[in-house]
């Protein structure tokens, strides 16, 4: 499933870039993230409890940052698996200065398997949008706090 969109952040591209690469910020902003532990260069082990309405699922996996081109772009790869299935999201994030802040444009792929793929088909699109929005909302809070 393809995903794309953009989000405005109230800070400079350099600040936004740093924030997006900061594991503490990521851990705080990724919905339901319980832990993010460094296991290598730009690679983190992740435990996430995703909750949306009644649905809740525990995922364990990895977060990886790749193709870093500061402060313009980088690739964020999140993969996790749990009882309810597995998911892998890969997105290219592009940052550009806009209106005194930064526009973060993302484009990528989300792939799910297991129960959530088989029965959650019609909700994947809206769920992905909600999760991404939550991520950026939280990130935005962090940006305002720092700016």
């Amino acid at each position: 499933m393809k995903i794309s969109g953009s989000y405005q952040m109230a800070c400079s591209p350099e600040q936004a870039y740093a924030l997006l690469q900061d594991p503490e910020a990521l851990a705080r902003c990724m919905p339901g993230c319980e832990s993010l532990d460094r296991i290598g260069e730009n690679e983190y082990a992740m435990k996430m409890k995703m909750a949306l309405a009644a649905f809740s699922g525990l995922f364990e996996g990895k977060v990886r940052i790749a193709d870093t081109k500061p402060p313009q772009s980088f690739r964020l790869i999140v993969e996790g698996s749990g009882r309810v299935g597995f998911m892998k999201g890969e997105g290219l994030l592009n940052l550009s200065a806009q209106n005194g802040g930064t526009e973060v444009a993302y484009e990528g792929d989300v792939h799910v398997g297991g129960t959530i793929a088989a029965v959650g088909q019609r909700l994947l699109d809206s769920t992905a949008k909600v999760m991404i929005k939550r991520f950026f909302d939280k990130l935005g809070e962090g940006a305002s706090a720092r700016a």
Partner: protein, 284 residues
């Protein structure tokens, strides 16, 4: 299809229910959304608090120009209520198109609005009706406009420990034409798109238009742009078409194996026109 273990309580009063929820209990209303999730193990609440015996939450009454609907009132009760059919026909019609007979016998309006499925039917009608929701928790009540209550897919303004107590809709002004039109996903009966319309005419011109849309994007919305284009027109087929044509503008339409975002947007236009057409023809 076997859920994980859980404890179960069935309180008789709202107070008892709130106490149990404050301790971490998960509300069970009609179970039409929660129980399948539990059976698939996509949800595993430890303690279910069944509101089915809380009589105070069930019922449809009139109160000073509004209809007050208890959150545990079933879709079947809504579709068959003489009071609702007379005073708020849009909501009764919407209830009658939810799922199937079995789902309507169990599913509740409170459960539906709290769950906030992006393809649920009620939100289109409740937005068009400019409905309110009354929420209750141990520390007291509060009332929100439904448009403030519904935030996103599966996301509402409900706080921890809070329950939906009632949904409040206005008694429809005489002469208002209403309609809910829905494009069914044939397997599940959910709305690919669903449009609710309320139209009033004065001296042959549309003087009042409220349009609610569900299923198109991650959250139901009021099509304000469509409403503006309708007001002041005579409601001809051409004018309706022009107004309906903007319903999906700027909306990030959902895409799944049943409908691409392009097709869904197009169908939103078609069903908006159909809902308006039907409402106009019913407006006195």
């Amino acid at each position: 299809m076997i859920a994980e273990n859980f404890d179960y309580s069935a309180p008789n009063t709202v107070e008892e229910a709130l106490q149990l929820i404050a301790k971490g209990g998960k509300v069970l209303a009609g179970g039409m959304s929660l129980v399948p999730l539990m059976k698939l193990r996509l949800a595993a609440p430890e303690h279910l608090v069944d509101l089915g015996r809380v009589a105070a939450l069930n019922g449809i009454t009139e109160d000073k120009g509004s209809i007050v609907i208890g959150s545990m009132t079933t879709h079947h009760q809504l579709e068959s209520s003489a009071l609702l059919r007379a005073s708020c026909p849009l909501l009764a019609e919407t209830a009658s198109l939810i799922g199937d007979v079995q789902v309507r016998n169990m599913g509740t309006i409170g459960g539906s609005v709290a769950h906030a499925d992006p393809a649920a039917d009620y939100p289109a009608a409740l937005l068009a009706l400019e409905a309110k929701v009354r929420l209750v928790k141990s520390s007291g009540d509060r009332t929100l406009a439904f448009s403030d209550f519904l935030i996103d897919s599966f996301t509402t303004a409900l706080e921890e420990g809070e329950l939906v107590r009632e949904v409040v809709v206005p008694v429809e002004t005489a002469g208002t034409g209403v309609s809910y039109q829905k494009m069914l996903q044939p397997a599940s009966g959910f709305a690919i798109v669903g449009v609710a319309a309320r139209i009033r005419k004065t001296a042959g011109k549309i003087s009042f238009a409220r349009i609610g849309v569900t299923g198109l994007s991650s959250c139901a919305f009021r099509a304000a742009a469509v409403e503006k284009l309708l007001e002041g027109t005579s409601g001809s087929e051409e004018e309706i078409g022009k107004a309906a044509a903007v319903v999906a503008d700027g909306v990030d339409a959902n895409s799944d194996i049943h409908a691409s975002s392009n097709y869904r947007s197009q169908m939103a236009r078609v069903y908006t026109a159909r809902a308006i057409q039907a409402a106009v023809s019913r407006a006195a």
